[in-house]
């Protein structure tokens, strides 16, 4: 399961993800992170059953946590099943079914945004951002 963790760094550079790993023993996989001087956002992947404990501990340490679910939205009316998105996705989110229809496996997405940028039909967007 993927979580988006946002944290402020104004109170100091606390290694909160490392701390959660040590305390909970959960192996957290950081898939993407963007951290500047005042705040940071990390996309982490954890085993489903550890979700509540990790989420709770991160929140206690001052981070805000959001579960990431099917974030990529495909406009079926716009998509023509060309497949331009397939090979550029680092997470292999896209594939064809046996009838050459595009299949989106959104759980793997790490929100890099590349597919949204290059879709020739502009059929892909981030959910909630239209």
């Amino acid at each position: 399961m993927k979580l988006i963790v946002t944290f402020s760094r104004k109170a100091g550079k606390k290694p909160i993800i490392a701390q959660v790993v040590r305390e909970t023993g959960v192996l957290i996989n950081v898939e993407r992170a963007q951290i500047d001087s005042s705040e940071g956002e990390a996309l982490i992947d954890i085993p489903d059953e550890t979700c509540s404990v990790v989420k709770e501990r991160l929140s206690e340490l001052g981070a805000s946590v959001r579960v990431l679910e099917d974030v990529i939205s495909l406009d079926e009316n716009r998509c023509v099943d060309c497949g331009a998105c397939i090979s550029i996705c680092p997470q292999e989110v896209f594939s064809f079914d046996e009838n050459w229809k595009l299949v989106v496996n959104g759980e793997r997405c790490v929100l890099c945004g590349r597919c949204i940028e290059i879709c020739p039909q502009r059929a892909l967007s981030q959910k909630g951002e239209g």
Partner: protein, 502 residues
């Protein structure tokens, strides 16, 4: 045995014709043999759906009152060519909007028309005795036009080379996004369903032959522009009435970093007259080979990385330099298949009537490159021949002195043999001064990845490098990587007012 077109037409009329798609044909030939397949199958339908930039439409708007000779014409701010009589224009698919740039273009105007949306026509004129009006603005629906006739100069490429990128930067091309270090391969085309691939000798595809075009019954006009059948890259010029088209098979698209294009659906039914037709329509993806071209080389003659079949491309991954590289199609095989199936119904129902070419298409031609009589500027024409360089073991301080003395901002760094190994800029030195760390020598602060140019390189290519990498100078190197000049943003000033602008 041979069959006549009349026999096939008669079978269609009587409801006895067997019409199959080009995808079904190889299996039928496997099962029945060539003679058996000739006996059994009357028509093979084909289809392709992909980006075809060379598309557009002739539009006739009707006369205004008072009348205007529309000299310059815009549709939703996309300029259409108005140099044809007074109220005709040709809207080309790749023309960009003057207000929305790459996000909207001629292809979008065409899709909006076909989708039933209103499009704003704006036109200007100098005014004449017979056409006194000087400007007009009005909203039009497709049904308000007298004619909207799609005429695509170059569609249905027989096959198209696949694309990859060997450089260390992502490229945004008309072949889509190409990841660095050959990280992906893109291709276009429907392979065994491709119309010309099913009749590569143009025995049955030619002028006057019926076609499916963007959902409308249309026609092949003849050879397309850049038609190059000798090398296996034939093209077709096709036409149909836009008023009968469907947005399912006519789609505006934007290739990020390249611009607007139009996805066109095209299919041609092929009457099976003899065993040669049986053989050509039994073509398989395995038989159709293309090169994987390296788009990292900014030249017309880009090198081929390897040959590949459509079967490999469609499998989703291709081996390149010993690694499995994922592929992306840019055309839609699903829609290509739908087109072939729709054509099957059309032929069966008599919606289009089969015909033989009224004029054959040339099968020997090959397209040649542009004849250029005036050579554009090359790096050697404007580069600085005075090069101030520095060794990698010298102190940062002496680099600063050299920069000051040479009145330059860039110092190429060379090794003992004179080869380029890095570059130091005034910025790098300022940084080293502001954050004094362990760095004492040039090698500690130099950038090792240097973007270079050569004397023979066209200036436009060098400028593209400056822009893409956000830098302001390129060392000019020879074959041995020795620095023989510098090209800086300042040198580009020589292009203005000089002989290159005449």
């Amino acid at each position: 045995m041979e069959k006549t077109i009349d026999l096939i037409r008669e079978r269609i009329r009587d409801g006895n014709a067997r019409v199959v798609t080009a995808e079904e044909m190889p299996l039928i030939v496997d099962e029945l043999g060539e003679e058996g397949a000739l006996h059994e199958v009357d028509v093979v339908t084909t289809g392709t759906f992909g980006a075809m930039c060379s598309s557009g439409a002739f539009l006739n708007f009707g006369h205004a009152d008072p009348p205007i000779k529309m000299e310059r014409v815009w549709l939703n701010d996309v300029e259409a060519y108005g140099g044809i009589a007074s109220v005709d224009a040709y809207i080309g698919a790749t023309q960009k909007s003057t207000t929305r740039e790459a996000r909207y273009g001629g292809a979008h105007v065409m899709e909006d028309f076909v989708s039933g949306k209103a499009v704003e026509l704006r036109a200007l004129s100098t005014g004449t005795d017979c056409y006194p009006r000087r400007n007009i603005t009005t909203e039009l629906l497709l049904e308000n036009l007298n004619q909207a006739i799609m005429v695509n100069p170059r569609n249905g490429y027989q096959r198209y080379n696949a694309a990859a990128n060997s450089t260390d930067r992502a490229l945004y091309t008309y072949m889509g996004m190409l990841l660095p270090n050959c990280g992906n391969i893109t291709y276009s085309g429907s392979g065994l369903l491709n119309p010309i691939m099913n009749d590569p000798s143009f025995r049955l595809i030619g002028s006057g032959v019926p076609a499916f075009l963007c959902g409308a019954p249309g026609m092949v006009i003849g050879e397309g522009t850049q038609h190059s059948p000798a090398g296996g890259f034939g093209t077709l010029m096709v036409t149909a009435d836009m008023k009968e088209m469907s947005p399912d098979y006519l789609r505006a698209a934007t290739m990020t970093g390249y611009g607007v294009t139009l996805y066109v659906g095209l299919g041609i039914p092929i009457p099976v007259l003899d065993t040669e037709t049986v053989r050509s329509t039994a073509v398989r993806d395995e038989d159709i080979l293309v090169d994987i071209i390296d788009y990292g080389i900014p030249s017309r003659s880009r090198p081929a990385l390897r040959k590949v079949s459509y079967a490999e491309l469609k499998s989703g991954a291709v081996e390149l330099h010993g690694e499995e590289v994922r592929t992306s199609s840019l055309s839609s095989y699903r829609r290509a298949r739908e087109i072939a199936l729709t054509l099957k119904t059309w032929v069966g129902e008599g919606k289009i009537e089969l015909a033989l070419p009224t004029r054959r298409i040339d099968t020997t031609r090959s397209a040649h490159p542009l004849r250029e009589t005036v050579q554009g500027p090359r790096v050697l024409d404007i580069m600085d021949r005075k090069v101030i360089s520095i060794g990698q073991d010298e102190e940062i301080r002496s680099a600063a002195q050299k920069l000051l003395k040479g009145e330059t901002n860039h110092l190429p760094v060379i090794d003992e043999s004179g080869k380029l190994v890095g570059i130091v800029t005034t910025y790098d030195i300022s940084k080293a001064v502001v954050n004094p760390g362990k760095a004492t020598r040039v090698r500690d602060i130099m950038k090792k990845r240097v973007i270079t140019t050569t004397m023979e390189e066209p200036v436009d290519i060098a400028v593209r490098k400056l822009e893409k990498h956000n830098i302001s100078a390129l060392p000019v190197v020879d074959r041995e990587d020795r620095v023989i000049g510098m090209l800086t943003a300042m040198n580009l000033g020589k292009l203005f007012g000089g002989r290159w602008l005449k």
